[in-house]
């Protein structure tokens, strides 16, 4: 299959998933080609009307030398020189590499700038960009990618792009703007949605294993608390617990960690929604500098002007919130494991001591990424922190996956020891857990290796969207 793009409205999370995770190609549709050709022609008319006007990177130099003007007869060569005579801007190194699916996603997100003619570039440039998705993808290091805007990582992403025939104003839209933030948000949001779904199932399994009273998830709370995210969490828990037996449940109130589940998961719903919103808005945004606005009232040739679109201020706070939410869920999972171990009627898994370390790692990853303190130069005086926020979120998610894997194993073991079955909607989940981590009298053999396998399966499920631990839906 191929994703055809004609307008900015085609830059949806679903199309992102198809291209980035599904490996589909992209074609530039006829509407987009027409719009870009018109945009290019209008921009050239604007440029020819006065080649001494300030258009960043076209009639001026770059970065801290922006006040230097480029003579008209040198402007085309100047455009091609960016990335050649000045050297490729790819400078970051170390820290591992972005997953290939994310690099695909960045290339897809980059095209949003082009399709409405705001990039000033010819349709051929956009098609050449889309064609990169059909070849081998460059490696993008994770360290050293913090600068003003996203020029540094984009230089890696565009390292294979042929530029010897670029014209005035066509180089900047390739590497300026904030398509990296958009892609990192989309990659995170798609996984987070799956991860939250898995967390709700595993916490419901824990509720069953503990025999916690069910009134903490009662539907009357939907209205009494009055929050749509908490209502979603409560509804998800009730779905998993439908048909749960009233027999054998604790008569007294459960520990707080069981009763607050609906509210803590509600916050996770809020954080996931925040990441999805950030991704949706960012994917279809036009963010490069300078931006070209087609002709309109009072501006018959259109306008090309400088903005701060290259700085995405929405994504990194959304990723911070998600990391914090994962850290809180990791702590909650640890409390559940402790409660199950305390209440277990026979041998627990022995995983409980390992949870403390995961909680601390997740909390460290939840330290927010703020605007970087470093300054490159007096002109480039604020940098983008999205790469760091993405990595911290990924680390917090990794810790949560491990904690959820341990909780699933512990809940399975507790049910095994008590000779009970969970509510029917949880049977498949329990079977999947036991296929990797079988329960055993006296505790399982080599629980560390088995729970590690469980965590890896959970992480894969978050990417693919398959059922938790890899069972196909």
């Amino acid at each position: 299959m191929t994703v055809a793009i004609n307008s900015r409205d085609d830059f949806t999370l679903e199309n992102y998933r198809r291209v980035a995770m599904g490996g589909e190609s992209v074609t530039i549709g006829p509407e987009a080609r027409r719009t870009m050709a018109e945009g290019r022609a209008n921009f050239l008319r604007l440029l020819e009307s006065d080649r001494t006007q300030f258009i960043y990177g076209v009639t001026s130099s770059f970065g801290p030398r922006a006040k230097l003007t480029i003579p008209p007869d040198q402007q085309r060569a100047h455009g091609r020189a960016f990335g050649f005579r000045r050297g490729n801007w790819a400078r970051g190194f170390g820290g591992g590499y972005l997953d290939e699916r994310v690099v695909r996603g960045i290339l897809f997100a980059r095209l949003a700038n082009f399709v409405a003619g705001n990039s000033k570039a010819r349709p051929d440039v956009a098609e050449r960009l889309a064609a990169l998705l059909d070849g081998p993808l460059p490696r993008v290091p994770l360290d050293g990618e913090v600068g003003a805007g996203e020029v540094l990582p984009m230089a890696h992403v565009m390292s294979g792009f042929r530029r010897d025939d670029l014209e005035e104003g066509e180089a900047n839209p390739l590497i300026n703007g904030s398509p990296v933030s958009a892609a990192l948000a989309a990659d995170t949001a798609l996984q987070a949605c799956h991860r939250l779904d898995h967390a709700e199932q595993i916490f419901a399994l824990s509720v069953e294993a503990f025999g916690a009273p069910l009134d903490a998830y009662d539907d009357v709370l939907d209205d009494l608390w009055g929050d749509e995210d908490e209502a979603s969490a409560l509804a998800a828990l009730r779905r998993q617990l439908e048909g749960a037996s009233p027999d054998g449940r604790a008569s007294a109130a459960a520990p707080a960690s069981y009763r607050v589940l609906g509210r803590v998961l509600g916050q996770a719903h809020r954080a996931v929604t925040g990441a999805e919103d950030a991704a949706r808005v960012s994917l279809r945004s036009v963010t490069d500098n300078p931006v070209y606005v087609p002709p309109g009232e009072g501006h018959p040739l259109g306008r090309a002007f400088s903005t701060g679109g290259f700085h995405n201020a929405t994504v990194y706070p959304a990723l911070n919130a998600l990391a914090a939410s994962w850290a809180d869920l990791t702590l909650l999972a640890q409390r559940h494991v402790t409660a199950l171990c305390t209440a277990a009627v026979s041998a627990p898994t022995g995983l409980e001591p390992a949870l403390g370390g995961l909680v601390e790692e997740a909390r460290a990853a939840a330290m927010p990424t703020l605007l970087p303190a470093a300054v490159n130069d007096p002109q480039d005086d604020v940098s983008s922190p999205t790469f760091s926020a993405y990595r911290r979120q990924a680390r917090a998610a990794e810790c949560l996956d491990s904690a959820l894997a341990a909780l699933a194993a512990e809940a399975s073991q507790a049910l095994f020891a008590a000779g009970r079955q969970p509510a029917p909607p949880l049977h498949d989940l329990l079977a999947a857990v036991r296929a990797i981590f079988p329960p055993a009298e006296g505790g399982p053999h080599d629980p560390g290796a088995r729970v590690s396998d469980l965590a890896a399966a959970l992480a894969r499920s978050a990417v693919t969207g398959s059922a938790a631990f890899g069972i196909s839906r």
């Binding site: 903490a216 009357v220 608390w225 908490e230 707080a256 607050v260 945004s285 606005v293 939410s325 303190a373």
Partner: protein
């Protein structure tokens, strides 16, 4: 005036403001009294055995938390107001007389609620302080739990932060626009076309506010090339502040009207009011502390961008303004050292942006998750104080830049400039000034304005402020 509460819908941010900051009393309305009577009558909250249980039950000592200063009495009023939200619909199983007794506490002096030591499961610890003066010798079964349980503190703390944050954001926008004008930054970075191109409602709101303040300014004399990044990205940074303020407002609005009692009484299968008791985790507010965390981070980021603009204004090579913005003939280093001072506020704000997560401590195997809202609230207060410090510096440096170049800003910015100069007149080399104290006064004035919503001109008609008034 008196705020009358009849249903949960009466627990709005506007009513919170009237009761907490405005000092208005609260009356429990007839509809609420009927709802409470219907549940408290036949439901499980009555009975002699229950009364005996209640008399024996232990009320936590209000001295359990101590140190760290105290909550503002206005916020304590807000907690008492919020406490009533769980009562008025009858879901808490509390008699009308008990609700009226809580409302009556608003007519007396507020108890002191320490800020340290308030992280427990739910909010029993601070509520024991808040309700220390409540007569409770005749409480019935379930009423003590309803009084102390739930999450009214989180709701009140979120509401208090939300009201100040909305004002603080408005003032920040005016000061950033003043800085844009002082720097003579090109206006394209705030162009209306960006609203559709970026497609984000919060960034749109920020762009519109900046343009509103800059309306009428000319293009003559502005730099022809693009401004430093800190000037071009300011609408996106302010857009993020808009987003976080909206989130805190939503958290407050939802929390204020929530029924969060540990046990709620609802209709049973036969439809009898209060016939079924549901025990839940309502006492844990899961939305207020993340919203406050995000707000602290937004203040820290705004503080950093404001500091970068201060540096740009103070650096002649960047701004093309007079060196250190020193007035002609005046001694000293002008506003240069304020740039250094701003660094300290930025670092403090960044420290305060460390998020409050679910506490690592465990009270006991049953109380195994604690509430972090008090911690998040205090950090937000500190981050806000620090951003006020940097904004004060940006305001006075912008004022100085306009002063030394003999310029006035467009009309919409003149009130904020008058406010700034009424507290901190331009440094013109005359008189003997304590510039540290003057800067501190401006920070405090901004802090006070965040509560009231008004940038009050303190000294209109004197000194440079008078010059501005005549020219305008």
């Amino acid at each position: 005036m008196t705020v009358v509460v009849n249903t949960r819908d009466d627990f709005t941010l506007a009513n919170f403001r009237r009761v907490s900051y405005g000092g208005e009393p609260v009356r429990v309305g007839a509809r609420a009294l009927r709802a409470m009577t219907a549940v408290a009558g036949p439901g499980p909250a009555t009975g002699s055995a229950g009364r005996e249980t209640a008399r024996r039950a232990r009320w936590p000592a209000p001295g359990a938390g101590f140190g760290g200063g105290h909550l503002d009495p206005a916020v304590v009023r807000g907690i008492l107001f919020t406490r009533l939200a769980s009562f008025v619909s009858g879901h808490a199983g509390v008699r009308p007389s008990v609700a009226e007794r809580v409302a009556a506490l608003l007519d007396g002096p507020m108890p002191r609620v320490p800020l340290d030591g308030q992280a427990g499961t739910g909010e029993v610890l601070p509520m024991a302080h808040v309700l220390a003066g409540l007569r409770r010798d005749d409480l019935r079964e379930g009423e003590q739990e309803a009084l102390l349980g739930g999450a009214p503190c989180s709701a009140a703390l979120a509401a208090d932060a939300a009201i100040s944050a909305r004002h603080r954001l408005g003032h920040a926008e005016s000061i950033c626009a003043l800085s844009i004008e002082a720097f003579r930054a090109p206006l394209t970075a705030y162009d209306e076309a960006l609203e559709g191109l970026w497609g984000d409602p919060h960034e749109t709101a920020a762009l519109r506010e900046l343009r509103r303040y800059l309306e009428g300014t000319g293009t003559a004399g502005r730099r022809f090339h693009q401004a430093p990044v800190s000037y071009r990205i300011i609408p996106r940074v302010l857009g993020q502040v808009h987003r976080t303020v909206a989130a805190v407002e939503k958290a407050a609005a939802v929390s204020l009207r929530s029924v969060t009692s540990d046990v709620v009484y609802v209709n049973d299968e036969a439809g009898r009011p209060g016939g079924r008791a549901v025990r839940s985790g309502g006492f844990h507010n899961g939305m207020a502390y993340p919203a406050l965390n995000a707000l602290s981070a937004a203040w820290a980021d705004l503080a950093l961008v404001a500091e970068r603009q201060v540096t740009a204004l103070n650096t002649a090579e960047t701004s093309d303004l007079p060196v250190n913005l020193v007035a002609p003939g005046a001694p000293g280093n002008g506003t240069y050292a304020y740039g250094w001072a701003a660094n300290g506020y930025v670092e403090e704000a960044r420290a305060a942006a460390t998020p409050a997560l679910l506490p690592g401590a465990v009270a006991d195997p049953h109380a195994d998750v604690l509430s972090p809202t008090f911690g998040a609230y205090r950090r937000e207060l500190r981050a806000a104080e620090c951003v006020d410090g940097v904004l004060a510096i940006l305001a006075l440096v912008s004022s100085q830049a306009l002063f030394v170049t003999g310029r006035n800003p467009p009309q919409p910015l003149r009130p904020v400039l008058s406010f700034v100069r009424s507290v901190f007149p331009p440094i013109d080399g005359t008189g003997d000034r304590d510039l540290s104290a003057d800067g501190g006064r401006l920070q405090q004035a901004l802090g006070a304005a965040a509560r009231t919503g008004e940038l009050t001109v303190l000294d209109a008609g004197h000194g440079p402020a008078a010059v501005l008034a005549e020219e305008s």
